[in-house]
């Protein structure tokens, strides 16, 4: 699989917001806002999460590896959903820590543009411990809010 260029570029934007979701054996969803992403190769992503936001998410995806990672451009609402499998999780390395820091700054800027100034208080959220989740991407779907959304993208 090859992640299309436009989506590739979107992954690097600090105003691309994301969510990681897993489902437990009772079919309850566990999800949290992500704090960055790094493409490893054409099939794998490292998704940065804040585990304290979703107490059971990591345990859920370790036991039930079907996961989705959904991204949205905060300015245009262009959106895509990656479906695939959880591979592993671990603490952030230095590079990923920098990605998280840059991404959190991006969230703060988007909110500032909307008129919400959090100033230094935002560090209470931005400095929550981050964690890296590796995902094997199997399918990508269009999720941009428009008629006919939900189509699977053909990626070679």
């Amino acid at each position: 699989m090859v992640i299309p260029d436009n989506i590739d570029k979107m992954l690097e934007l600090t105003y691309t917001f994301g969510w990681l979701v897993g489902v437990d054996d009772k079919l309850e969803s566990h999800l949290c806002r992500t704090c960055g992403v790094k493409k490893i190769d054409n099939e794998h992503l490292i998704i940065l999460i804040t585990p304290s936001l979703a107490e059971h998410l990591v345990e859920t995806i370790q036991n039930h590896p079907k996961i989705v990672f959904t991204i949205v451009n905060a300015n245009t609402f262009e959106s895509y959903q990656f479906k695939g499998k959880y591979v592993e999780n671990r603490p952030l390395n230095a590079e990923e820590g920098n990605i998280k820091h840059r991404f959190m700054r991006g969230i703060k800027e988007v909110l500032s543009d909307m008129g919400f100034e959090y100033n230094d208080r935002f560090s209470q959220y931005a400095e929550l411990e981050g964690w890296a989740v590796k995902m094997k991407v199997e399918e990508i779907y269009e999720q941009t809010p428009k008629p006919g959304t939900g189509k699977k993208l053909i990626v070679k």
Partner: protein, 137 residues
């Protein structure tokens, strides 16, 4: 008994920071979509605006339990609301009220084709979890 939906959470329902809705297929494949409105109905119910649900609707038909995460823009507090789909509304007072609210969002976003209400999901509130208590100070 106090409502599960506090005034703080009601602030988060307005959709200023878009909310998300997570459903699951019977074989445990998640699906997540953004929603425009999560509307407070009463102490035990929320109504969700439906504009473009494809996979979401398929999932709800076999598994009516799902979750929504809402964010309060004032302090970035976040809550996961676990819901159970009860019925689909395509008209009535609530539908009309949500349609007007959605039109207002559409005008602000200059996207009237996108923000057109197709139906309303009436849902029972099962439980609420705080994901982030909000920025303080």
């Amino acid at each position: 008994m106090d409502s599960l939906i506090t005034s703080e959470i009601q602030n988060a329902l307005q959709g200023i920071v878009p909310s998300v809705m997570a459903t699951s297929s019977p074989d445990g494949m998640p699906n997540l979509t953004y929603i425009s409105q999560a509307h407070f109905v009463d102490d035990n119910h929320l109504a969700i605006s439906w504009q473009f649900f494809n996979k979401t609707w398929k999932n709800l038909q076999t598994n009516p339990n799902f979750s929504v995460v809402v964010t309060a823009p004032q302090n970035w507090a976040m809550w996961k609301i676990n819901l159970r789909f009860e019925e689909l509304l395509k008209d009535g007072d609530l539908f009309d009220e949500m349609e007007i609210a959605l039109e207002a969002i559409a005008i602000m976003q200059a996207a009237t084709d996108v923000f057109k209400l197709a139906a309303v999901l009436m849902c029972e509130i099962v439980s609420i979890e705080t994901q982030f208590h909000g920025l303080t100070g």
